[in-house]
């Protein structure tokens, strides 16, 4: 920068510094605490925090470019006259600027990736679907999951045990199974407060996605796959469950409301429902993490059933009907 010239970059920089700091402060104190998904669970709280921290970085970047654009569009407009731009190699490239830009963006990007990774691991998958064999789990989750399969899982208020809950997605409704209470199935999702919950999400047909919004849980439901997601509930509250993967005609209607209630109230509800549903629970298949329904459905007819002989021009392909 030569002497006597207006130092444009310094002007922009100081304007930007002020605006960015103000924006960050306003965001952090006025907006941040209200950012979804709220604070109903540990995962929600952490994800809100992650969102806010990314926002703290993103806002200055956004404002930096905007300040630069606004300044240059105004100051260097042809209508305002000003000196003719200088061309030549110096204007076409500037090694220092380029190196600086690439370094800054690289550092920012790597920091964001590192931050995201740490947040993901520390928060046991952050409430996202972790597949059938989760690598990052809360303590006790593995034990509870294994016990649930054997029908031996227990949960009682005040025990700090992990509560496994199965989410069964089907066109077009979620239903829920509670292996710790005899494996009853219910259209209602009720959870105890201050408890680690392991959601085991599976589907009976096409892909759905279990999105418990305020719990900050999202896990795709695939037929034949158990997709596990963890969170720890906080105080009592309401939440909405929606399907967030297009699953056909009634996708928009595939929602229900759930509740986080006190541990005692949950225990009472669970035991009552277990009793009320006992007759039906006996008819359900034993609790498992995936189910194998017939791809043909009740009416059959899509895939041939059983063994089919090699092609024979006198036979009609797929002629054999499955028993329905």
């Amino acid at each position: 920068m030569k002497n006597g010239e207006v130092n444009h970059l310094r002007r922009m920089g100081s304007a930007w510094a002020v605006i960015a700091v103000v924006a960050d402060l306003v965001y952090w104190f006025a907006v941040g605490p209200h950012v979804p998904p709220g604070r109903l669970t540990e995962a929600a709280k952490n994800n809100q925090m992650d969102f806010n921290i990314l926002m703290l970085v993103a806002l200055p970047v956004l404002l930096g470019v905007w300040v630069y654009l606004a300044y240059s569009l105004r100051v260097w407009s042809a209508k305002r006259g000003g000196p003719e731009p200088v061309g030549g190699p110096a204007a076409a490239s500037n090694r220092r600027t380029q190196v600086l830009w690439i370094s800054i963006t690289s550092v920012a990007v790597l920091a964001a990736a590192a931050f995201g990774t740490v947040a993901l691991i520390v928060d046991h998958g952050s409430g996202g679907g972790e597949g059938p064999n989760p690598v990052w789990m809360p303590t006790g989750a593995a034990k509870a999951e294994t016990a649930a399969l054997a029908g031996k899982a227990t949960w009682a208020p005040g025990t700090n045990a992990v509560l496994p809950v199965q989410v069964i997605a089907q066109q077009w409704k979620f239903t829920y199974r509670y292996p710790t209470f005899g494996g009853f199935e219910s259209p209602d999702l009720i959870l105890p407060a201050n408890t680690s919950v392991a959601f085991n999400v599976t589907s009976l047909d096409v892909i759905h996605s279990f999105w418990a919004y305020q719990l900050s849980i999202k896990a795709d439901a695939n037929q034949g796959v158990n997709n596990v997601a963890f969170t720890e509930t906080k105080g009592p509250g309401q939440f909405v469950v929606r399907c967030s993967e297009l699953c056909g005609i009634w996708h928009g209607s595939m929602y229900n409301y759930g509740k986080v209630v006190s541990q005692g109230a949950f225990m009472q509800w669970a035991q009552q429902t277990e009793m009320a549903n006992a007759a039906n629970t006996k008819l359900l298949p034993p609790f498992a993490y995936t189910y194998a329904p017939d791809a043909n459905g009740a009416a059959g007819g899509l895939y041939p059933d059983g063994t089919v002989t090699p092609y024979n021009s006198s036979l009609t392909y797929g002629a054999k009907q499955p028993a329905s």
Partner: protein, 224 residues
């Protein structure tokens, strides 16, 4: 032709093409409910209960897809069977529903739907029931389920010589299921559907009739 004329004719053709597209889109994607709305609000006096009679057929027998499963509803004024799954109901009113189930059944994919939920006085051929084991008898043919209202009733399958195409008549073997529920106070469109994968020849049985409005699902259009 002059340059201008040529370009004009291109743009003219383009406008024609756009007009064709607009016409095609608006014809193929008609707003509104397929079939129509059957109105149950006019036939009863205010506050009186409403009777709905529907039948479920293995094959509707007419229309663009005669082989698909479907619900049919009896029009309260004319008494005709209508192919229509959007029913306009008064809010906060008792509904007596009669289902004539003409279709065969199967074990349920999810036995959860074998339970009677959210309705009172559910009767299967005159006998009260609250649960049906779908592994017995002819299984469950369809369900009538309104997820948002917590209503679900298994419609038990018929055995024997089932009615081949609708509308079916009382002479064909059928099960009669009756139950009572109350519409919510809040007006709105409440989606109902069948939870038995009965869409013949589609993957998981949930295609075709199950995936098309006016066959195995629709709305309870509750009006204040």
């Amino acid at each position: 032709m002059t340059m201008r004329g040529r370009v004009a004719s291109v743009l003219g053709l383009f406008v024609v093409a756009v007009a064709l597209v607009v016409w095609a889109v608006s014809t193929l994607l008609t707003p509104g409910t397929p079939g129509g709305v059957t109105d149950f609000t006019k036939t009863q006096a205010m506050g009186q209960s409403v009777d709905i009679t529907v039948q479920t057929d293995g094959a509707i027998g007419y229309g663009p897809h005669p082989s698909w499963v479907s619900y049919l509803v009896k029009n309260p004024t004319t008494g005709q069977w209508v192919h229509d799954t959007t029913w306009q109901l008064p809010a906060n009113t008792t509904i007596h529903m009669t289902v004539l189930q003409y279709d065969s059944g199967s074990p349920l994919r999810n036995q959860e739907w074998g339970q009677v939920q959210g309705v009172s006085n559910a009767q299967l051929n005159g006998k009260s029931y609250s649960l049906f084991n779908s592994y017995t008898g002819s299984g469950v043919g369809h369900t009538f389920t309104v997820p948002e209202l917590g209503i679900s009733v298994p419609l038990v399958g018929t055995s024997g010589n089932i009615c081949a195409s609708g509308p079916c008549h009382l002479g064909s073997p059928h099960n009669t299921i009756t139950f009572t529920f109350k519409t919510p106070k809040q007006a709105g469109e409440y989606h109902w559907q069948c939870f038995v994968p009965c869409g013949l020849s589609s993957l998981y049985g949930n295609g075709y009739g199950m995936s098309t409005q006016n066959y195995m699902g629709g709305f309870l259009d509750v009006v204040a």
